[in-house]
Symmetry: C2
Subunit: 253 residues, 2 copies
DNA sequence: CGACCGCTTGACGGGAATCAAATGGCGTGG
DNA sequence: CCACGCCATTTGATTCCCGTCAAGCGGTCG
């Protein structure tokens, strides 16, 4: 993945990143690039939140360890994402590299003064925060009422949207995170994730070119994948009617 | 609940709301108060996000209707909360009153220009956004790996923290939302919520003074409730060791 | 009184967790 | 080169929590 790539990726998530005036990416460009090896930590939950980060390349995971030792991956981060905008005292989560990754870091103080002084930057921080909030709510919906298959299909589609450059529909996708990572992100166990993968393969929704490369997926039926993800937005017409009283249930089919 | 109350509630959620210079509450004070009757809608998912709101009194629910007609309540809102800070084009969710409620509304444009012009206001908006983000992530953790009992206990405790004035430990709590509301917020069914309530009553963790007033809970064992909520933060000492490789599982006991 | 509503309770089944074992790739070392 | 162990993943057998369907209960209102 090259420099031009993540600029594109950034644009896809954020409709207002034209290069008018200052932009977040150029703000971070002054900082030296740092490289992380796979599974290397960036910071830990509870640490003083002294820096904010830009992801240049690779994939990171952001997670919390809950009381009984289990891990909840609240998000994966991709090139063009930023970390730590909406924090004040301490990090609420840990961050690690999934793949070898490149990032830039900036002291929070420096970041805050730069943003306070520039209208454009504030707008971009705001936009990024809105995206993050929307993504988190989407994940809440997934966890609140989707089946294992729906969760996995949703996840594959989201991942594809982040790694494929705008528009094109790639036939094959690399899922760099482990099955355990996927499980911890989807609120499932590794066994269920594995079983659901084989189910999708049996249905020929996806396939593996090389059984050894289990992270390389070929998407056989995009439409089916979308359908199985279960977020068909066909409820727009009911929304405004007000007479909707059919709530309840988790609808696991 | 009186005027002084929600100022207190606001302070509990937001460590920096001393009345230095402008504050969000005084900004909204210029707007007329509006009253909502129970279950009255404030706006719908997909509407143009033309206003931002302050909750003065009562409880609101914020929710999305997913494709198969089910409802996911992403949050309940209490006096001192604001709605719509992190939005740009359209509302991502609907909002309704749970109880009779009082709110103030302000046109988004007006809000944005006021915030853009004032450093203090920006800081407060930022703080509120951080709180919202933290709460949303907490909810993700709940949905990702907690059992029905843990979810309900967590919810009761959170609700208590929002409605009781700072510090005091009230013996009895009013849960104004219906069982269905609770279910849709916790990713459960109404039957499971009901069963879990009776389980807690049988364990004498909570009790009902009057069986007819099922929304009025007496908390018999605060410690037990906290324990059953399952967010004992006893993992602080493992966090930094780095050698933690015991992830996985949903741990439903 | 009877209909309706919110809630509870019961019976049952299913989907995912749990426990356990097998597979298969990969690196190390003899 | 092959044996061995390690690791991630898969697969199987079983359990169990919670969803589903259905009925019952009390309270309120017309």
């Amino acid at each position: 993945m090259f420099l031009t790539d993540y600029i594109g990726a950034l644009d896809t998530r954020n409709s207002m990143n034209v290069n008018e005036g200052n932009c977040l990416h150029t703000l971070f460009a002054k900082q030296p690039a740092e490289h992380l090896s796979a599974s290397q930590s960036l910071f830990f939950e509870g640490d003083d939140a002294n820096h904010v980060y830009e992801v240049l390349d690779g994939v990171l995971r952001v997670f919390r360890i809950v009381s009984d030792g289990r891990r909840v991956i609240t998000a994966f981060l991709y090139p063009g994402d930023f970390i730590g905008f909406s924090l004040r005292e301490t990090y609420l989560y840990s961050a690690e590299a999934v793949t070898p990754a490149t990032i830039r870091r900036m002291p929070r103080r420096q970041f805050e003064t730069a943003v306070a002084a520039d209208e454009d930057l504030r707008a971009q921080v705001f936009a990024k925060t809105c995206c993050e909030m929307a993504a988190t709510q989407e994940q809440m919906v997934l966890l609140a009422c989707k089946s294992a298959e729906e969760r996995l299909c949703s996840f594959i589609r989201r991942h594809m949207q982040r790694v494929t450059m705008s528009g094109e529909r790639a036939a094959t996708v690399d899922l760099p995170m482990s099955r355990q990572d996927v499980a911890d992100h989807l609120g499932l166990t590794i066994e269920t994730v594995s079983r659901t993968f084989t189910k999708l393969i049996n249905k020929n929704v996806i396939s593996l070119d090389n059984p050894a490369a289990r992270h390389l997926l070929r998407i056989e039926k995009h439409g089916m994948l979308e359908f199985l993800a279960g977020d068909n937005d066909d409820c727009a017409e009911i929304r405004q009617q007000g007479g909707l009283v059919m709530y309840g249930g988790r609808g696991r089919h």
